[in-house]
């Protein structure tokens, strides 16, 4: 048995270059990777945090570059508990694309998924999207809103901790999309499924 009580899948979306990977790496590794270039072979990053004395494991999934040509697989959104939609506050087009992303989220993600809008790169001098515009957009679409800087480590910890806390609360009130109750894990080991109504995940 692993020593955590909750495991949540968090996925990031948003245009290429808005800093999704940097946010993940700042949070999970505490560093800011200079230069571009996706990390080959890394599917998701894991970080265990503590909320109310309980260990919560966050599994944070990145787009693997598939957002560049709008080719994110639908399965990427499946069974996500939280979804972070990121734009670059110094780049208007990344903000203009948000409605497109929302449509995709609506289509493939669970309706109960926790959604967070993040304006990244607040360390930049050349801001194009005022905070209030982001706030307004988030409010209209019923999302939690935060501005961050992966470079300066601003609000990054806060972002993920907020997600962990909210998901914990949902889990406690049983309001979470309950993926586990209907799926099976496929693994090399033989699992004995009695008369479960369950489905499996092959791991």
């Amino acid at each position: 048995m692993e020593d955590f009580k909750f495991l949540f899948k968090v996925v990031l979306v948003g245009n290429a270059g808005v800093g999704k990977t940097c946010l993940v790496r700042r949070f999970t590794q505490g560093l800011f990777p200079p230069g571009q270039g996706a990390t080959i072979g890394v599917d998701f990053m894991i970080k265990t945090v503590e909320v109310e004395n309980e260990k919560v494991k966050l599994q944070i999934w990145d787009t693997a570059g598939q957002e560049r040509f709008r080719s994110i697989t639908q399965s990427y959104y499946r069974s996500a508990h939280a979804l972070i939609l990121v734009y670059d506050i110094s780049c208007q087009p990344t903000f203009d694309c948000l409605p497109d992303w929302l449509r995709e989220i609506e289509e493939y993600a669970s309706s109960k998924v926790l959604r967070i809008l993040v304006g990244n790169k607040i360390d930049r001098e050349d801001r194009e999207i005022p905070t209030v515009v982001g706030e307004d957009f988030a409010a209209r679409h019923n999302m939690y809103f935060l501005e961050t800087s992966a470079k300066e480590a601003e609000n990054v910890e806060k972002l993920f901790m907020k997600i962990a806390e909210d998901l914990m609360q949902q889990a406690r009130s049983k309001d979470l999309p309950r993926y586990d109750s209907i799926t099976t894990n496929i693994s090399g080991r033989t699992s004995s499924i009695s008369d479960s109504n369950c489905c499996s995940k092959l791991t």
């Binding site: 020593d3 080959i40 072979g41 009695s194 008369d195 479960s196």
Partner: protein
């Protein structure tokens, strides 16, 4: 391009693992200390500690029994239940923990037996081989208003999922005495198991229990003997069939000479195929031969 992905070598992984283990060890020791400090039993099988807890619980119960503060008492009892939960997670087959749980529930005037019963159902669905839980269920059963029919159905469901299970057959045998109406059904279900897998011993024991009941009449037994002969034709080398056949013949026709011969044949065959118990069969044979 090749080798872009760096993966830890086995050595590094081992080193990491060792470090992880060390970390865990420290965490474990810290935890142990905390547990010992709060005088919770580390080993759930030290019954002296459980008895001590029961004495404390009795004090708590008696001092609160006439006071309005029922909440305090129920919190206390709830904590005791949680403790047994933790212990059962660590060792699901701890006699003392199961007993303590039942004892606490019995001493709680507001015990939620229904919840307890549902927990049993859930647990047994995950692991139907823990006889502690089956026993516990039997105790709890008397406290909740579950109809016998529902419980028989639960038992049938468990057996349908896995009939190679002594516990669930045994539980079934404790549910009710056999009646005229149900004896046929019970014979059918046990025969299904015997024919599906005659090499599986669990159902043979259930058969033996059924046969021990006087309600099973000669006709039933004759039928069964016929069935066993059919089964033996398909599976001539299965010792359980031969043994059961001997039970039945002994019971039905102990002194008829042609049946005695049949019994002798069975034991001779058993001597051949079940070397481990050869002495036992020889003994039976000698008794048969000397008596006739």
């Amino acid at each position: 391009m090749h080798g872009r992905l760096k993966v830890r070598t086995t050595e590094e992984q081992q080193l990491l693992k060792r470090k992880e283990q060390q970390k865990k060890l420290i965490a474990y020791r810290m935890g142990m200390k905390q547990i010992l400090d709060s005088r919770k039993p580390v080993n759930p099988d030290i019954y002296t500690l459980w008895n001590y807890r029961k004495e404390v619980a009795l004090l708590e119960i008696n001092s609160n029994i006439n006071i309005e503060e029922t909440e305090k008492l129920s919190n206390f009892l709830e904590n005791e239940l949680k403790l047994t939960e933790q212990c059962l997670l660590a060792n699901p087959k701890s006699y003392s923990s199961w007993h303590h749980r039942y004892w606490i529930l019995e001493h709680n005037p507001e015990a939620n037996w229904k919840k307890e019963f549902d927990l049993c159902t859930k647990y047994l669905t995950m692991d139907d081989r823990n006889f502690h839980c089956w026993d516990f269920r039997r105790l709890v059963l008397n406290k909740v208003g579950i109809t016998l029919g529902d419980e028989i159905k639960f038992s049938t469901d468990r057996i349908n999922i896995n009939f190679s299970n002594y516990s669930s057959w045994h539980y079934r045998s404790t549910l009710k005495a056999l009646t005229e109406e149900c004896v046929e059904d019970e014979l059918t279900i046990v025969k299904s198991a015997l024919f599906t897998d005659p090499a599986d011993s669990s159902a043979w024991f259930y058969l033996r229990w059924i046969l021990s009941d006087p309600i099973v009449n000669t006709e039933h037994k004759e039928d069964l003997l016929d069935n066993l002969n059919q089964l033996l034709e398909i599976e001539p080398d299965c010792r359980w069939i031969l043994i059961a056949k001997c039970w039945l013949i002994q019971d039905l026709h102990a002194d008829k000479s042609n049946y005695v011969k049949e019994q002798i044949d069975c034991y001779r065959k058993l001597e051949e195929i079940d070397l481990l118990r050869k002495g036992h069969y020889s003994d039976k044979l000698n008794k048969l031969l000397s008596a006739n």
